[in-house]
């Protein structure tokens, strides 16, 4: 840290020297009262209703478009002036030495001129465990986020940004012990591809345990969630197969399907009638040009959509799949562990036998505090896939500490390790999610998604309100995630609260008070009352919310399911 240039580097932070109790409390807050628990009830196979989407007043939409228009015009002026007068600063978008630029002016416009302005709200470096609190490394932005400098200090923020649904992001406790032990036993590296040298008995154990937990015959574990999807579809799909995909499916699924060469048709998010119409049409029409029937049709959905907080309509999907002999693929990246009475994902939430679904996929990054992904199917399918999936024969397998973390956190959830702890975590996340969701709704914010979703997207609309919200929350020591186009529709910029079992009720009170205050300043209380069951416009006082919501949120009648 001697030369000034070094200040632009993220410094390596020493762990804080704090007593073990404080550290534990920072990672997962102790439950303050038994009242703040909620046991999720299943929906008993009842299909979902059509979701009600609250829309903001017209002037907000208009302002949002205007906001983008101004940004785009300014950006183009900026580009024009820059390329004309400051060539040396814009080498990245100009041809030089006969080489094309890495990216064209047009492709990167959004990134350079729009996202760049709010870059300080993304990729905030952190250190330590992303538990109840997250230690963000302070940074100072220079020249409109062109570069950052780091004074070397950190601030502890309330963590609503990590996918730490069950609070397994911890650096002590049974899971950490298991991970540490596994290093002694199996070492750090993973050897090589699964089919050559990479399979360990730990892996076999984790796969069996996972399969049993989900309720499938067998499962397969991969070292990265994204690549589980991205390298999965080409193992059994080709250009004579059809994928019917929800329009909001994750990029990894799209990449995977594209690699397989299968044809893709999309249906509107959650639109089951549209889906049925599409399936019928596709079975009748068959492949384009040749009109031969499709070899197989697979419906791809996500269990819980991480940008919307909405569920897939599983009962209806299962019904359609059976009726039309399609296959169903459910990506439970966000729902496994976090939803359902015992954390077994959307199948359990809807009370549907997992064997009704052909392929269940999920990740370990979120609820389990590990890394990687899995696929669970019938045994004969997995046996085939073990030979046909790329990553098993060419990629790296999951390393031992990650597997140990998966096994130990799973055993905690099912109550095999520390009986009672897993149950408490599940009930805490359920209570926390509902409390925050209902609290925000009562304060008058527009919130998307279903009652039990641990992802709670709150709508901001104007692009300029995103950095404002994020920065104001950071000042109040709360770390939140903002998302905008292209992850969401252009005008529906939002902030996404990721709930965690490690937060206490008091943390959420703190959060609600500050969101209320900031929301008032930024004019974010826009709900029309469409989303509350009684249809009335809600603008509760913050004290009332905190007083009444903890009890009310356990009751389904306050939510539109």
């Amino acid at each position: 840290m001697s030369t000034p240039a070094n200040y632009t580097r993220v410094p390596l932070c020493e762990p804080e020297d704090i007593p073990i109790e404080v550290k534990r409390e920072n990672e997962i807050g102790k439950l303050t009262s038994k009242k703040y628990l909620h046991k999720v009830k299943t929906l008993h196979g009842v299909p979902l209703n059509k979701p009600t989407i609250d829309t903001p007043p017209y002037y907000i939409s208009l302002l949002t478009y205007l906001n983008y228009l101004i940004l785009i015009i300014l950006g183009h002026i900026h580009d024009f002036l820059g390329v004309t007068f400051q060539k040396n600063k814009h080498l990245d978008i100009l041809e030089h030495d006969g080489l094309a630029p890495w990216y064209s002016n047009f492709e990167s416009f959004y990134i350079r001129r729009l996202k760049m302005r709010i870059d300080d709200c993304f990729s905030r470096p952190t250190t330590g465990v992303p538990g109840r609190f997250i230690r963000c490394i302070d940074r100072i932005s220079h020249n409109l986020n062109e570069y950052f400098t780091y004074p070397g200090t950190t601030s502890m923020c309330l963590n609503l940004s990590s996918y730490n649904y069950l609070g397994f992001a911890q650096s002590e406790g049974q899971c950490t012990d298991a991970a540490l032990e596994s290093i002694d036993q199996y070492g750090i590296p993973s050897g090589g591809p699964r089919t050559q040298i990479g399979t360990t008995d730990l892996q076999v154990r984790a796969e069996k345990l996972m399969a049993k937990y989900i309720g499938k015959e067998d499962s397969m574990i991969f070292s990265m969630g994204y690549s589980t999807n991205a390298n999965f579809f080409n193992a059994f799909m080709d250009s004579k197969c059809l994928v019917i995909s929800d329009e909001l499916n994750h990029t990894s699924i799209r990449t995977g399907v594209r690699l397989s060469g299968a044809a893709v048709r999309t249906f509107k998010h959650g639109d089951m009638e549209g889906l049925e119409k599409l399936i019928r049409e596709q079975i009748v029409l068959g492949q384009p040009k040749t009109n031969r029937p499709w070899k197989k049709i697979i419906i791809c959905v996500e269990g819980l959509y991480s940008m919307e907080g909405t569920l897939c309509n599983l009962p209806k999907l299962v019904e359609l799949k059976k009726k039309y002999k399609c296959y169903l693929y459910v990506d439970e990246a966000h729902s496994i562990g976090a939803m359902g009475p015992t954390g077994r994902g959307v199948c359990e939430l809807f009370d549907i036998d997992p064997n009704e679904i052909d392929i269940l996929m999920g990740t370990f990054t979120k609820s389990f505090g590990a890394a990687g992904g899995y696929i669970a199917c019938d045994k004969w399918i997995i046996d085939r896939l073990r030979l046909d999936i790329n990553t098993a024969s060419y990629g790296e397998p999951s390393p031992a500490p990650v597997l140990a973390q998966i096994i130990s956190s799973l055993e905690t959830i099912i109550g095999k390790r520390n009986p009672g702890e897993g149950e408490e975590r599940l009930q805490r996340i359920a209570f926390n999610s509902r409390y925050l969701r209902l609290g925000l709704q009562r304060l008058g914010f527009i919130v998307y998604g279903t009652a039990d979703s641990p992802v709670i997207p709150m709508l901001l609309y104007c692009p300029s309100k995103m950095p404002a919200f994020s920065r104001m929350m950071l000042q109040r020591k709360i770390a939140v995630v903002i998302v905008a186009y292209p992850a969401t529709p252009l005008i529906e910029s939002r902030v996404r609260f990721c709930m965690s079992a490690s937060l206490t009720k008091e943390d959420i009170d703190y959060l609600l008070r500050h969101v209320n205050e900031v929301g008032e300043k930024l004019n974010l209380k826009l709900s029309s009352g469409k989303q509350s069951p009684d249809g009335k416009c809600q603008r509760w006082d913050i004290e009332d919310v905190i007083e009444k919501t903890p009890e009310d949120c356990k009751d389904d009648k306050y939510f539109i399911l």
Binding site: L12, L99, G131, S162, P189, I283, G395
Partner: protein, 555 residues
């Protein structure tokens, strides 16, 4: 007619009833228009324009009407499809739907024939991928203890050191295991940035970007920087990771003969000429894609010639160094160091793995700052996936530090590699059976049966195999089971089995999935050595492998 304003000039001979009708319409329209805010300004304008050029009004009205018609009519495309569609009655539709019988989700037909592949996967029992392992196979029905491990990709074995174990443990005690979020959303921790700086510094590039898994780096990076119309020239024996990358990139891909610089130059010259004739409005992005140390054959790319050619023809060079990093060059800095070149000036994009010689997990991409920066937004596998567990980054950082100072470990690995290579290449008996394809310093020794032997034993050639597989791929056959190829694989597996059973040596086939491979490939066996092996044991193992090979070929 006195109360009706005159709107049309009298010079045009128009039937009087038309004028009357239009006049009435205009009168009432203007009455409405004056009430609308801004109306008083619009009406005089229309009046004036109509007065100056009455035909213009007609044309404009026609245009407006056409616009309304166009807006209300269905898009042309839809119409086209509908007209093609046969008119079916609801009953016919129902029966068609009823009739449709899908294929099973995965093809079960040859599972029995291929079940030997499943049962031959070794499961390491209770020990890390170190030099001596216990394995079980076939669901625990066979167990073998204390095998000499000649198939680990962990070439330097640095992460088995007690010091590295302590680094990993300390990190887990401070950071937990998972990072619980993608890089953009608080997932990147200080240790991730530190490793990126370390990688950039170690390899002498401006930037480095970390990925969660080595296999998906190439496909994510290439597709972030290519679109339709861009040009990629690739070696025709690149690994599957790169084949996927080429497919996902959407660029136009041309192949040159494996490591044949003349073939590459001809191709580049031709492409340059084509571009000169086409005169595109902007230069397309152009890449030469190759591997540092080839995954399927073990030989290395001639970097000096590649660099010359890329500079001459204005291409960028993309090299997958998954297997050459930590292996080639005096300090393990990979291909450029091996040829005494500087990475930053010779290779534009490098992708590599932390899971091979470095002995941790994950992958990375090296290049200039602009490219690294753009990847953080444009590369899917980086944006949409969680960051690596913290402990993998700290151990990798430490390994790089060790490599920086330790000059012994890499040279030791190279010495072993050379020893194994010499043994297999110079042995007169083996020369009659196998062909070693790898480079002498490659820690993975690849060898395959000689074409004559393959022809005699299994009755097919590499070209025939490629033709068959391309034909099956073109036909989109679900089952891609090719018997002679399968027989050869089984034969190689019997060699592996014999080595395990008779000599306690664990070697492995190069496990390829034929149905994914789009480039010519033949089965091969591989022997991996690492820097922490005992020289005498390795020598013995080589002799043992030779024995099993010769014995198997005599049967």
């Amino acid at each position: 007619m006195s109360h009706i304003p005159q709107v049309l000039p009298t010079s045009i001979p128009i039937p009087s009833f038309v004028i009357t009708a239009f006049s009435y319409i205009w009168y009432y329209l203007s009455a409405i228009l004056t009430r609308i805010p801004g109306g008083p300004y619009v009406i005089p304008y229309i009046q004036k324009s109509h007065h100056d050029d009455p035909y213009r009004t007609t044309v404009e009205i026609g245009l407006i009407l056409y616009g309304i018609y166009f807006y209300l009519s269905k898009p042309q495309q839809k119409k086209g499809l509908q007209s093609n569609r046969p008119k079916l009655s609801p009953q016919e539709i129902d029966s068609l739907i009823d009739e449709w019988q899908p294929e099973p989700l995965v093809d079960p037909s040859v599972l029995d024939e291929q079940s030997w592949r499943l049962s031959s996967i070794p499961v390491i029992e209770n020990s890390g991928p170190s030099n001596h392992v216990n394995i079980s196979r076939n669901d625990g029905k066979e167990t073998f203890n204390d095998l000499f491990n000649l198939s680990s990709n962990n070439f330097l074995q640095l992460t088995s050191d007690e010091e590295l174990v302590q680094v990993a443990k300390k990190t887990i005690k401070n950071y937990g295991v998972g990072a619980c979020g993608p890089a953009g959303f608080y997932g990147n921790q200080d240790v991730h940035y530190a490793l990126e700086y370390d990688l950039a510094q170690f390899f002498g590039t401006e930037g480095a970007v970390l990925y969660g898994q080595d296999f998906c780096v190439a496909s994510s990076v290439l597709s972030a920087f290519n679109k339709r119309g861009d040009v990629i020239v690739a070696d025709d024996q690149v690994s599957l990771a790169l084949q996927n990358a080429l497919q996902l990139s959407r660029a136009t891909v041309y192949y040159f003969e494996h490591n044949n610089m003349q073939s590459l130059e001809n191709l580049l010259a031709e492409l340059t000429e084509m571009e000169a004739n086409d005169k595109p409005p902007a230069i397309p992005r152009k890449f030469i894609v190759t591997e540092g140390l080839f995954q399927n054959s073990g030989d290395i790319a001639p970097l000096p010639e590649l660099t010359n050619l890329k500079e001459k023809y204005k291409f960028r060079l993309f090299v997958d160094e998954t297997f050459s990093i930590g292996v080639l060059g005096e300090t393990g800095r990979g291909l450029p160091e091996h040829f005494g070149m500087i990475r930053a000036s010779s290779i534009d994009v490098t992708v590599g793995s932390l899971a091979t010689a470095i002995g941790s997990s994950g992958g990375f991409c090296l290049g200039d700052a602009v490219m690294a920066h753009h990847q953080r937004i444009g590369s899917n596998a980086y944006c949409f996936s969680a960051s690596l567990p913290a402990y993998t980054t700290t151990t990798a950082s430490r390994v790089l530090q060790i490599l920086n100072t330790d000059k012994v470990i890499v040279s030791k690995l190279q010495q072993f590699s050379k020893m194994v290579f010499d043994f297999f290449v110079n042995d007169l008996d083996l020369q009659k059976i196998i062909k070693v394809t790898s480079f002498e310093l490659s820690p993975v020794l690849h060898f395959r049966l000689l074409p004559e032997i393959r022809k005699a034993k299994f009755n097919y050639t590499a070209e025939e195999l490629f033709e068959t597989i391309s034909r099956l791929q073109k036909r989109n056959a679900t089952t891609k089971y090719i018997e002679p190829y399968e027989n050869e694989e089984r034969f190689l597996q019997s060699v592996v089995d014999a080595a395990i059973k008779k000599h306690g040596i664990l070697i492995s086939r190069n496990t390829i999935i034929l149905q994914h491979e789009t480039l010519p490939i033949v089965p091969s066996l591989k022997i991996c050595c690492n820097a922490k092996m005992d020289e005498e044991e390795l020598r013995k193992a080589c002799v043992a492998v030779k024995d099993v090979l010769i014995e198997a070929c005599q049967n």
